[in-house]
Amino acid sequence: MNPALLQVRDLRTHFETRAGTIKAVDGISFTLERGEILGLVGESGSGKSVTGFSLIGLLDAPGRIAGGSVMFRGQELVGLPQTEMRKLRGKRIAMIFQDPAATLNPVLTIGQQMTMAVQAHGGSGAGAALALAARSLALVGIPDAAARLNAYPHEFSGGMRQRVAIAIALLHEPELIIADEPTTALDVSIQAQILAEMKTLAQESGTALIWISHDLAIVSSLADRVIVLYLGRIVEYGPVSDVLRAPLHPYTRGLLDSLPALAAPGQKLTQIPGTTPSPLNVPPGCPFAPRCSHATDLCRSEPPRVGDHHHGAFCHHPRPVAP
């Protein structure tokens, strides 16, 4: 059997700051198969975006991968020289970002930006590059694609801009696309459209997708599997339907209870008590223990472990059903 498309083992990404080392990603492991859609869910500061940037080798200083392994199609990416990493970026692993108004260069035409992305991976002529760009734009549903290549980003609506960014990511038909909250900045109706289209595109092209979001509702409509992150660690993972129906971890339950989209009509929305601790001072034992109503002495001293399950939670007292 072929190795998995992406195999992440004990990934650790640290930021050395004057105040101390921030363990933004603290031992994350997961596997992604070809064509699979994985949701990476967590609050701000949970390490979900840093995980994405670690995978594609685009950490800003002072961030660095402190340990672990990222195997992409059997190739180790941790420690790979930047020149080699660059050849993979955009070609085999692409990434799209939250705000298309900020990611596209306002002073270059869409065609110029797409041509650059094409030519970064081989010397296609300008004509061939533009033809490829037009095809990619048409694929993401931009009408009259060839003519729009001469337009500037500000001449597109927000949703259309994000489609352009997605078209750039799709140019080389990558095997993996990392999407860092790409619909957060968009209207809800546009959001739903793009989610549906991304799902179809991923299915048709066999592209695997890592969808990073703070919104469990979005992930539930899109992903096959979901990983819930808290303070740089995985708290729960499993198939989306299982996690949503029967969350094992109190934190996941807390997230679900606070979602209007998933709550039963008339049910009062609850919030998770307390605030996320400083990443400089992660509690020993279970990181969620200080905010957890079921925490015991064991939770406060011993980090929880999990067996190799289909659906599991890093919790000493996992409960299949909320009390």
């Binding site: 800003d60 993979l88 070609k91 990611t103 260069n105 992305a117 970064a120 991976h121 500000h154 990511a169």
Partner: protein, 324 residues
């Protein structure tokens, strides 16, 4: 776009009008030119005839209107001292200054912008730190001192380059230029270098600040995620994004260098307009002063207009009325 240009041209016209009034009134208030023009022992008749001849007996506003009328016909008056048309006088000196100023801003741009981008791209490298330290010197050391040191080093001690004057020129369209011959370039080198140091330092700091900011932006992250090389990112993305503040400073510096290259022109005895204005101030040659300042204002307004239009070329968001 056309409407924008027309609007800017009308604005430019008003600026010129205001400037002409300010200059005329301002210069009128300085001294009495008659005392300079005729010898103190001239008879009262000669004195009054001279005053009438130059129109100095009329009220200020009439003198201004007459001046404005002549100005619109391209007549800036005649020099009191040299008795030749001011326009002719200034234009004969302008090419020398134009050449000097243009060379110095181009040195500033072509050396300063790449150095600044590098310093912003690799802020921690020793070379970048050396660039930044040198740029502080460029800012803080006075021009006249640097000029003297340059002469002392390259002209007196090493004897590589001439210490001053303009040297031979080649005539094109009746105007002499230095940059076409090697010898002319040698004469141009030191004053141009002297004048460019401040611009160099400023463009280094501006491009470094812009580059640092843009290197952290999502645009650059996204370009990296698409697999672009850093060189392509710097050349295609960063350079375009930092160009607007650079063009602004380039334009302003070019204008002020044209108008006020006085110190460098004096040190290197460069026969430009800077020396002309100093001479005309000492001899109270009012038409030359007024005409020169009007021309300088005109140059500034023109350069600003070009800068504004360049913005529209550089930033598509400023091109109004463009919809696809």
């Amino acid at each position: 776009m056309l409407g924008y240009i027309i609007q800017r041209l009308i604005q430019a016209g008003f600026v010129m009008l205001a400037m002409s009034a300010l200059v005329f009134v301002g210069v009128y208030a300085i001294g009495n030119p008659i005392d300079v023009l005729i010898s103190p022992d001239a008879t009262q008749d000669i004195r009054e005839a001279t005053i009438r001849h130059y129109g100095l007996d009329q009220p200020l506003w009439q003198q201004y209107l007459a001046f404005l009328g002549r100005l619109l016909q391209g007549d800036l008056g005649r020099s009191f001292v040299l008795n030749i048309p001011v326009l002719h006088l200034v234009l004969s000196r302008l090419p020398a200054t134009l050449e000097l100023a243009l060379t110095s801003v181009l040195i500033g741009a072509f050396v300063g912008i790449p150095l600044g981008i590098y310093a912003g791209y690799r802020p921690e490298s020793p070379f970048s730190k050396a660039i930044m330290a040198a740029s502080v010197l460029g800012f803080s050391v006075p021009t006249f001192w640097v000029g003297l040191i340059l002469i002392l080093t390259f002209a007196v001690n090493l004897d590589w380059l001439p210490a001053g004057d303009r040297g031979p020129t080649v005539e094109i369209f009746g105007v002499g230029w230095s940059f076409l011959t090697w010898e002319g370039l040698c004469f141009l080198a030191l004053p141009a270098l002297n004048l460019s140091l401040f611009k160099l330092a400023m463009l280094i700091r501006l491009s470094r600040a812009g580059t640092r900011e843009i290197m952290l932006s999502d645009t650059v992250k996204f370009a990296r995620a698409a697999g672009l090389t850093d060189f392509t990112i710097l050349r295609r993305h960063v350079l375009r994004l930092i160009s607007i503040p650079l063009v602004t400073v380039f334009g302003l510096e070019f204008g002020s260098t044209l108008a006020f290259a006085v110190v460098t022109e004096t040190i290197f005895s460069w026969p430009g307009v800077g020396k002309l204005i100093i001479d005309s101030i000492t001899s109270l040659d009012r038409p030359v002063m007024v005409g020169y300042l009007i021309l300088v204002a005109f140059l500034f307004v023109t350069i600003n207009l070009v800068v504004d239009l360049t913005y529209a070329v550089l930033d598509p968001r400023l091109r109004r009325g463009r919809r696809v």
